[in-house]
């Protein structure tokens, strides 16, 4: 019998971090306010007390410094897991991530590995001020040398953070912050899949919805509503935005013939764009309609009182489903 425990996504990440740290003393964790406070979302709560100041520590408010020193520590044989406090604060570290971290293994011809995990709470829906609600994953998915993943439920959160830490490549770990307190069962014995494998969460026959991170719950909600109306939606949780598991998507599209890709990020040159382009290449003769994207508008993330309109909801997904079925 598998050992299932009910916990939130935030607690599941915390439990995954704790397990990884207790198994490998080369793992060090740092970021802004992650020690005594446990981070602004309390994801690292208790870890400073448990593992001590040398393994879990606060940094100066200097994001380039956080990632740059993580690179140096990785060169020394450590496995740093760093936190960027909010999505919108990652850009001071953008240089270190894209010009240094992502390229180091390739430019050193494999003599240096970069087992660095960058944890980033991302996405909107929490009524926050500017720069606290963004979805910057496409910048990193576009950059060769990085792996980019996002869990949508506690079981994935628990296992994927451990898989990210175990990887010898740099991993951008995007945490769906508005779903941090969503609870679900965690199987403490066995991982559901590898961290780059997409999963079919809901089987259906009319239209496939491919999504990831915070929008997975929205897509499930859309599938429930559609079912009441007699439409059968298949929901795929991509789990990984780089690399993308196209096999799972294409297998679904071969069955449904229609695909809607949903994400909070603005559509233009997005992960959704890549899914749409590639599925057209890989499954052209199986498509009954063009792949449609449902995403944030191509505007700066709006003030909080407008975010409900900016963020795609179940109705926006269903509107795209209607359009796909109308072809």
């Amino acid at each position: 019998m598998a050992n299932f425990v009910e916990m939130s996504i935030a607690k599941a990440i915390n439990a995954g971090l704790r397990k990884a740290m207790s198994e490998n003393d080369k793992i060090v964790m740092f970021g802004e306010d992650i020690a005594e406070l446990g981070g602004v979302f309390r994801v690292t709560e208790g870890l400073h007390k448990e593992f001590g100041q040398q393994r879990v520590f606060n940094t100066p408010i200097a994001e380039a410094g956080i990632v740059g020193t993580a690179i140096g520590l990785a060169m020394r044989g450590y496995r740093p897991v760093v936190e960027i406090q909010f999505d919108g604060f990652i850009f001071p570290a953008f240089n270190q991530i894209t010009t240094q971290l992502a390229k180091m293994q390739n430019r050193s011809e494999g003599t240096i590995n970069m087992p660095v995990v960058i944890r980033v709470p991302y996405g909107g829906g929490i009524g926050a001020v500017e720069h606290h609600s963004e979805s910057p994953e496409a910048y990193f998915a576009h950059t060769a040398g990085l792996r980019v993943i996002s869990p949508s439920n506690p079981n994935d959160a628990y296992w994927m953070i451990q898989q990210a830490i175990a990887s010898t490549d740099p991993v951008m770990f995007f945490e769906p912050k508005r779903r941090y307190w969503q609870k679900g069962p965690v199987n403490l014995d066995e991982p559901p899949a590898g961290m780059h494998t997409a999963r079919v969460l809901r089987e259906g026959s009319d239209v496939t919805i491919a999504t990831y991170g915070p929008m997975v719950a929205t897509a499930i909600q859309a599938a429930d509503i559609a079912a009441e109306e007699g439409r059968s939606l298949e929901v795929i949780d991509l789990r990984s935005m780089s690399p993308i598991d196209f096999t799972t998507i294409v297998n679904s599209v071969k069955k449904t013939g229609r695909l809607v890709v949903a994400a909070e990020a603005s559509n233009f040159v997005s992960v959704s764009s890549e899914v749409a382009a590639r599925v057209h290449e890989l499954a052209f003769y199986h498509l009954e309609s063009p792949v449609l994207r449902v995403g944030g508008f191509d505007v700066p993330y709006p003030a909080a009182k407008l975010e409900e309109i900016f963020l795609p909801d179940a109705d926006r997904i269903l509107e795209a489903v209607d359009r796909a079925l109308a072809y």
Partner: protein, 381 residues
């Protein structure tokens, strides 16, 4: 400013610098001769590389002429447990730690991005994005401290880290962030700032209102200025502060005041932004000439200088023939080590390229180069 050799090659010690002079007194004549040989070797290498660039053999050349004392002096002061995080002009430092000169030429020809093993040589890859390496050095030094390899008192155990940065790069925000992390964690790190007075076309006062050796002070990183054209002073100052870093005294900054006699790179034209009188002034303070004068005062005869000259001729020939023998890398090299673990996009694109190139038969760019055909001429005689 710490100076032990005057431009005329006279050795004299101001009382406040006696602690540095003590370290020079521990050197032998053989060490002085080694400094000269390597400074002359790297100067010769520089001239030859510049010529190779002009002949189209290199994509770019980055001259270090005028900075040989700063590089050879500091390089030899770095211990054999220490790690070095260079910028991109540290060819002199490179040869003091076993980097094959052809590795540098391969990189500037475009064969690879450096290719030497940083773990084995302790000399990390060149950093092209200015200042990024200071944070890697800081993180590395944090790791040294976590490992308990600081202040044990056992010279075989203790380690320090040195990072090289130019006057221009000190303005990068990441350098300031590195000062904060280094000072807060009291890591064993020395910043060796080569102030060659020009960041491409911008003089140092574009980057700073205060002397650069004071740049770290407010962050908790004390500093000192050394005559960067005085190899003995550069050696002694670096040695002392690397020793102190290893002993657990925290980070320190050395500003070596020198001058970039040549262009920023082979793409640059310094006549557009600086006077020839300024260049002539600094040529009269040439670090190699200064050391030669010192050695002659020490009674070193013409035979030695003739021997160095002959070694330079030989080096030039070796470099030229080794460069001409360089082959283009096989095309699949670009796919190597993008990830250390399996990645479907890389596999898919490499498979596509293999099929595409195969359609060209003998003209395929995927032909594997024979590594034995690439000469390795070694770094130090």
């Amino acid at each position: 400013m710490v100076q032990l050799l005057s431009p005329e090659g006279e050795y004299s010690v101001a009382p406040q610098y006696a602690e540095y002079a003590k370290l020079v007194q521990e050197l032998s004549e053989a060490d002085f001769l080694r400094f000269y040989r390597d400074m002359a070797r790297i100067r010769r290498f520089d001239f030859e590389a510049n010529a190779l660039q002009r002949q189209g053999q290199l994509g770019l050349w980055i001259p270090a002429i005028g900075q040989e004392a700063a590089q050879i002096g500091s390089g030899y002061a770095v211990g054999h447990n220490d790690h070095i995080f260079p910028s991109y002009r540290e060819h002199g430092v490179a040869i003091t730690h076993g980097i094959d000169l052809m590795s540098i030429l391969k990189m500037l020809r475009g064969v690879n991005h450096g290719g030497w093993n940083a773990d084995e040589t302790r000399f990390h890859l060149y950093a092209i994005v200015l200042g990024t390496q200071t944070l890697h050095a800081t993180g590395y030094a944090m790791g040294v401290k976590f490992d308990g390899k600081v202040g044990t008192g056992n010279p075989a155990e203790d380690q320090a880290v040195i990072t090289y940065v130019g006057d221009g790069a000190t303005a990068e925000g990441e350098v300031s962030e590195s000062f904060i992390f280094a000072a807060n964690n009291q890591v064993p790190l020395v910043y060796f700032v080569q102030n060659n007075q020009w960041a491409i076309s911008s003089p140092t006062h574009t980057q700073t209102r205060v002397p650069l050796f004071q740049r770290g002070t407010g962050f908790g990183v004390p500093g000192i200025r050394v005559d960067g054209n005085d190899v003995l002073a550069c050696y002694a100052v670096t040695k002392k502060h690397m020793d102190e870093a290893r002993a657990g005294n925290g980070p320190f900054l050395i500003e070596a005041l020198t001058y970039r006699i040549g262009a920023h790179t082979s793409s640059d034209d310094p006549t557009k932004y600086r006077d020839s009188e300024e260049v002539e002034y600094w040529k009269a303070r040439d670090p190699l000439v200064r050391l030669e004068k010192f050695l002659r005062r020490q009674g070193i005869g013409q035979d030695f200088f003739d021997e160095v000259e002959a070694a330079g001729e030989k080096l030039s020939e070796e470099i030229r023939s080794a460069t001409f023998a360089l082959k283009n890398p096989p095309a699949q090299n670009m796919f190597n080590y993008v990830y250390s673990e399996q990645h479907p996009l890389i596999e898919e694109q490499l498979a596509w390229l293999e099929a595409y190139e195969a359609s060209f038969g003998d003209q395929s760019h995927l032909a594997v180069a024979d590594p034995s055909q690439i000469p390795n001429i070694g770094s130090v005689h």
